[in-house]
Symmetry: C2
Subunit: 515 residues, 2 copies
């Protein structure tokens, strides 16, 4: 057994059975090893950012890491932006990067670059494997690093000669992943005292606190103390819809966020940190909590968030308090013009139970969360690191993790353009994804940002780098070219029909919504 | 004048008048500044790898740097692979990366990452600007770093508050770019002695040595001494066709390269280094020069290569030696099946004088150089760093640098998929590019590489990550969706007609060649 075969075997032994890859010559040993290992599912991406973003989406839904397989420094570079998003999502990924043979590096062949330096900027753990006989223990260490709560990226660089070298009798050592701690009784009691005191307070949550059980507990805290329930603007995964306790994201626009938090005296963080502005603006603060507000951590991202909420409910004696969860309200299908509101209405009406919504429609999606609050229960994920191009890959990964669930990807035209190669992989893998492409022919969010710094209105030259018309993109044509069935909707009625058909059809489809 | 305006002014003062960008919120000050500065051409790319690859292509043809404008660490990450290619091409680029406000970094907002670490892996010079008043001198230093021969990437990170801060009366200081040195008379004389001794020798060249004047001088050395004329496998820019002295690339397959160089006793490097294998393989050496061969540097990449060749011609007293350059031979147009050979024949027949060929058709392009050796004089460029996805962006940048010339992009289906967003920018900018898309529905080069390590033939599972059918890509549809006129050719006759029409039509077109 060579190093590459041992690597696959080791991953499988730890339950990692999916590999998102865009391989090159330095990864050929792994491709050959895949041939002999039917338990490992290799998913081909035509661009590395698709592979890394899919590994993120997979981890969010499967609750365990996938592996990637990338081609030297440039392959890692292409995957960097979505690894950045995954890092911010605090999900586990085992990133495998092929490299030149150890003895070949000194020759500075054209594809040589400083892989470890780039990897370090997105990884909690980076190692270059030294010998095939060490790969099993390298993978064990990578697995521990990646899956230690709250989850992070472990990058193992594997030189080709390590991949082709003999792994001997090496085995995966016993793996002990540290159990996530719950906060101490005293810490919980202190938070309970603050909440009982009745000053304006909010829970600010992310991670598993936004799971259905987490939110149910948070709902009890809210019912017992009046504390508001907030989440970060971008969340990793959130349970929503009928039967779920509602949580409000901190607003993206700084002035709105400041207003939203203005009355608070206490923010209790659970699986996140104190709220900060996404970007800095002249005359506005970076910290969003008002001056008189104190930020208390109930549980850091790496702690057991649901246990922390359960302990808080206990300390508040709130277990029997009735919780307000959303009713199921299926409003009639919208008609008239096709607007973001009409799309939200159609989703609220048609979205099947247990759907997974991936949101990267940016400004186009603004009204959708409110409109789908009472839809059938579903999960929602954002592009957590703010690097556009995460949405379609996340949807691909989520669909592979949960083939029985319907994934709905809300995509802006600008965002989709970064990683549209994901459409091809969705077709190839038969993923149940409905892509709703919001075509508004512009970087609308950037026009809004430009308006803030140039309030007299930007002119034609500035707009020329924000406008996505000239030429207009035809997403039906692009999707069809990538093998995906696609149609166009220009009215609410057309959109309703198209969405209903897409949701009822196995495999992926794309609906281009002309806004 | 704020920092962003001062940055544009400073670039313009140094002759940098083209900016390839995919901006985000942290770059809005620059977008606003663009509005007021009609002398700066802003070229929008829908993915950062298009912007960086276009800056590379631009520099190769314009002989001066363009600037990029990228959005924080993830934007730089998306641009990394083509910056890697540009680094290997040894071309000048001034890379501008927007960052959070200096005081905002401590808050670790979602888009925060270690930009300098990633930049350092591809740049010869990295700096984070500290104040708007220093931007003019930062740009001067970046310009000197980028344009000092042989050319490299200088990355300036600009925090938003530096971009919006007052630049005061700061000015670009006097800029003195070191002049590239020519080798000493003694060094040249030593090389001349080696060549005169008559042992088997070759000149191995890259950079300006492959320009028409460089090759003409090399041709005299060959004629006078019998030294063979070789180039690196991947070259930055090479003059080819009728009237040009021919140079043979060192082969990509290691066994072929070893055979090609086996008889040599001396390799004289001019603008490059000793030949190395692109990848390492078990049982094959990394260095391609045979054991008995000595490698001598006539001129390192940063030296004046044409002057070095001229001095060598002088030392050899070879100025009057007649040089063998290619004749113009226009073979008849091919007919029959559409093959790479048929494409090469059509190019040889139809390619206009002074065309720029960008080659990223990988295995599909193998016969093309030989077939176009006697075509009308043209220039040729490769994706120098070996990171796929360089071709279409290079063609975009070349076309913007030389709007009067026809650019012909030879693209593999697999390669084109990485950065197909470039097609949209070509349409938007009215670039005179003919894209020839070699659709063979597979990563053929990787199948060949896999065959080398698994000679018994790879099976279906391995091939599943190398096969680009399932679903088939329809490049006419993809290109049309991105606004580019496109057609399909399935026979040599169809291809001839399509190519002739494309070459005669202003603006870009794509021809999907079904192989």
């Amino acid at each position: 057994m060579n190093g590459a075969q041992k690597l696959l075997e080791s991953l499988l032994q730890l339950g990692v059975d999916t590999c998102f890859t865009n391989p090159g010559t330095s990864e050929m040993q792994f491709v050959a090893a895949l041939e002999r290992e039917p338990r490992m599912r290799g998913v081909l991406a035509l661009f590395e950012g698709v592979a890394t973003g899919a590994a993120d989406g997979y981890a969010r839904i499967a609750g365990k890491p996938a592996s990637t397989l990338l081609h030297l420094g440039p392959g890692l570079g292409n995957g960097f932006a979505n690894l950045h998003n995954a890092r911010r999502a605090r999900v586990p990924i085992i990133n495998i990067v092929g490299d030149h043979a150890t003895y070949h590096r000194a020759y500075d062949a054209p594809l040589t670059s400083d892989i470890e330096a780039v990897a370090a900027a997105v990884s909690s753990w980076v190692r270059t494997s030294r010998a095939a006989g060490e790969i099993a223990s390298d993978i064990a260490d990578a697995f521990i690093a990646a899956t230690t709560a709250p989850g992070s990226i472990a990058t193992l660089v594997v030189p080709t000669d390590v991949a082709w070298g003999p792994a001997g009798g090496s085995q995966v050592p016993p793996v002990q992943v540290p159990v996530a701690a719950a906060p101490t009784k005293d810490a919980v009691a202190a938070i309970a005292r603050i909440l009982r005191a009745g000053e304006p307070a909010a829970l600010l949550m992310n991670g598993a606190a936004l799971s259905a059980p987490g939110l149910a507990l948070a709902g009890k805290v809210h019912a017992a103390t009046g504390a508001r329930l907030l989440s970060d603007f971008f969340i990793t995964l959130k349970a929503r819809g009928a039967g779920r306790v509602d949580v409000t994201p901190v607003a993206y626009p700084v002035d709105q966020a400041l207003q939203q938090l203005a009355d608070l005296r206490h923010i209790i963080t659970i699986g996140t940190v104190a709220p900060v502005a996404f970007f800095a603006y002249p005359g506005f603060p970076s910290a969003m909590a008002p001056e008189q507000c104190r930020v208390h951590s109930l549980a850091a991202p790496g702690e057991d968030l649901v246990a922390a909420l359960a302990a808080l409910v206990d300390a508040l004696d709130a277990d029997a308090v009735p919780v307000v969860a959303g009713d199921l309200v299926i409003a009639p299908l919208p008609d008239g013009a096709l607007t973001p509101e009409a799309i939200g209405g159609a989703l609220a009406h048609l979205m099947p139970e247990n759907a997974i919504v991936v949101n990267e429609a940016v400004s186009g999606a603004v009204p959708i969360p409110t409109l789908t609050r009472h839809a059938r229960p579903h999960d929602w994920m954002d592009v957590t690191g703010g690097s556009v191009g995460g949405g379609l890959p996340l949807a691909l990964g989520a669909a592979i993790a949960a083939p029985e669930r319907r994934v709905i990807a809300l995509e802006g035209d600008g965002s989709a353009m970064y990683t549209m190669q994901a459409l091809w992989s969705m077709v190839r893998e038969g993923c149940n994804v409905s892509v709703v492409l919001f075509n508004n022919r512009g970087y609308s969010i950037l026009r809004w940002e430009l308006g803030k710094i140039a309030p007299d209105g930007a002119g034609a030259r500035a707009d020329a780098v924000l406008d996505l018309g000239n030429p207009d993109m035809d997403w039906v044509s692009i999707a069809t070219g990538l093998g995906m069935p696609a149609c166009r909707a220009t009215s609410a009625g057309e959109f309703n029909t198209a969405l209903a058909r897409s949701l009822a059809t196995p495999g992926p489809t794309l609906i281009e919504a002309i806004l």
